[in-house]
């Protein structure tokens, strides 16, 4: 039997292989995260940077940059990426051809918006990740006393070209679509169930909203929202707030989120909102007949699963709002995505 002196043992070889493998993985990770990963799919890059920040130690969160580029979708009859004046002079616009201007076209638009919401929801950790943890306060990026405002990512902007008939937009019914359409990736659950972690499939009744308002469980905070009246453009926004008294914010946010009564698109298209929390989600569809899951106001915010400090909670929401200064700034005090 050979017993050469100095020969590497199998355990040493294994250690070496594992170490080299580990280093390669770390190097690839760093390369993707910082610049050299520019060719990487943008959504994956964003997801990776979010995951990295959310799992980083609180003090280091600020050093992990978010690499989230706002997606730009232009819906038009021609399908050209330059058909929407809202994106004039901007790069990276995805042109989507509206196949028809009948019920099929309406469903196509609903599908585009729903998928954009799903993408944002999925990319940001389904509302459970603490994206803007303790560091934002240390750096002065907190809500500066206005606990109702949040730090945001604008996941997507969706614009409609002039050749998309306004009456068609008026027929959009996101509530119905989200309740009755199976969502990716498995196409086993409708969007509402997926977004609410199977808590609810249907939206609550308008009278429930009124009762909660009357009982003071939620507050109508949407009166200053101008909606998308002036411009034909929507934004799918991820917003997160982590105040000390987060249940109180939940209450105030609910209001805002659950009564987006003024959020109207030019065609009367009803906007919708989702509040994503660790334990529950509230879904709402615009107009004064806004509907919410009963009692959800108390539950739609929760403990983050990735926070560096045990027991801290907050609120996350994904909402489609008019892309204008008034509406976006009413929700967001800071935007951290790249335009």
């Amino acid at each position: 039997m050979l017993d050469r002196k100095g020969e590497m043992t199998s355990s040493q070889i294994l250690t070496l292989v594992i170490a080299i493998g580990g280093f390669i993985v770390v190097l690839i990770f760093l390369a993707i995260l910082y610049d050299t990963g520019k060719g990487e799919d943008e959504k994956e890059l964003c997801r990776l940077s979010i995951l990295t920040r959310a799992t980083a130690y609180d003090a280091l969160q600020g050093t992990v940059p978010l690499k989230c580029q706002t997606g730009k979708i232009c819906i038009s009859r021609s399908g050209k990426s330059d058909a929407c004046p809202e994106f004039l002079g901007e790069k990276g616009v995805e042109g989507v051809k509206l196949e028809s201007i009948d019920a099929k076209g309406k469903e196509q638009i609903e599908g585009i918006l729903a998928r954009a919401m799903y993408s944002c929801w999925s990319m940001t950790g389904k509302g459970n990740l603490d994206l803007f943890g303790g560091f934002w306060k240390e750096l002065g990026f907190d809500s500066e006393g206005d606990v109702e405002k949040a730090t945001c990512l604008v996941c997507s902007r969706v614009a409609f070209a002039d050749d998309v008939p306004k009456p068609l937009l008026g027929q959009i019914n996101m509530r119905n679509y989200l309740e009755n359409t199976l969502a990716p990736p498995d196409y086993k659950l409708p969007y509402t169930e997926l977004f609410t972690d199977r808590e609810t499939r249907t939206f609550a009744k308008a009278e429930d909203v009124r009762r909660l308002l009357d009982e003071g469980q939620i507050v109508d905070n949407g009166e200053n929202i101008t909606g998308n009246v002036a411009r034909n453009q929507l934004a799918i926004v991820f917003a997160q707030n982590k105040p000390q008294d987060w249940p109180d914010v939940a209450k105030k946010w609910g209001l805002y989120v659950m009564l987006p009564s003024a959020i109207q698109t030019p065609g009367g298209f009803k906007a919708k909102a989702f509040v994503l929390g660790a334990e529950a989600t509230v879904a709402a569809v615009g107009t004064i007949n806004t509907v919410i899951a009963e009692g959800a106001a108390a539950r739609f915010c929760g403990q983050f699963t990735s926070t560096g400090v045990t027991g801290e909670g907050g609120c996350s929401l994904i909402q489609t709002i008019g892309y204008n200064v008034n509406d976006v700034n009413a929700l967001c005090h800071t935007i951290q995505s790249e335009p």
Partner: protein, 221 residues
């Protein structure tokens, strides 16, 4: 008896792994530092290029209003413009009109000195882009309807006491951490970018004057 060659291999292996690990650690720290150092400046550049991209795409002689996105940052940044023949423009704009995005320096707020301070901060830490039109007007504007007597701007004593449909301009636009709306127009001679703060009347608080005065430092009237 100890196996010396075996020890050597083992130690060498540990040293190699340690060196590689240290190298990756240093690389990671360097990249983190670099990324954060450049991030704010990169975002500022994106804001400026985004606005100029829209202006370039506009047909000559036309106007547009659109939301622009600011960014979270450690410093205050503002947009400022310099016409071709303006004395005191940053060296990087020399012989050209230009539009810059610049960090707010330690400028005092004396009316006569702040344009100089703007120029200095643009030269030292700003990003400037040349503009083809010889005249550039970048400003924040307020329409004043202040007829109640007294001045909302206590330390600008030269201003009249009564303002009726009076447009007050400050020579910069503050870049916020969220959205801001800019109105742009351009033709062969003039490029204009301004943020409209709306109307300020006797009934209002003086938030407008405070915000503009705090960030833009200069008034023209």
């Amino acid at each position: 008896m100890r196996n010396k060659k075996g020890d050597l291999v083992k130690n060498t292996l540990s040293i190699v792994i340690a060196v590689i690990g240290l190298g990756i650690f240093i690389f990671g720290v360097a990249r983190l530092y670099e990324a954060n150092k450049n991030n704010e400046r990169e975002q500022a550049k994106n804001v400026l290029d985004g606005i100029l991209g829209k202006i370039d795409a506009l047909p000559e002689g036309s106007e547009a209003t659109f939301p622009a996105q600011g960014f979270s940052k450690g410093k205050e940044w503002y947009l400022v413009g310099w016409s071709m023949d303006e004395i005191g423009s940053p060296d990087k704009c020399i012989l050209n009109s230009c539009i810059c995005i610049c960090p707010r320096g330690d400028a005092n707020r004396l009316i006569d000195s702040n344009r100089i301070a703007q120029s200095k901060s643009c030269q030292e830490g700003g990003i400037c882009r040349p503009v083809s039109s010889p005249i550039v007007d970048v400003s924040s504007r307020v329409l004043l309807n202040y007829v109640g007597g007294g001045s909302p701007f206590p330390d600008t004593g030269g201003l009249p006491i009564r303002y009726e449909n009076f447009v007050l301009k400050a020579s910069c636009i503050k870049v916020p951490k969220n959205l801001f709306e800019v109105k742009v127009s351009h033709d062969a001679t003039t490029t204009t970018i301004f943020e409209d703060y709306g109307t300020f009347s006797d009934e209002d608080d003086d938030w407008v004057s405070k915000s503009i005065y705090a960030y833009c430092d200069r008034y023209s009237y």
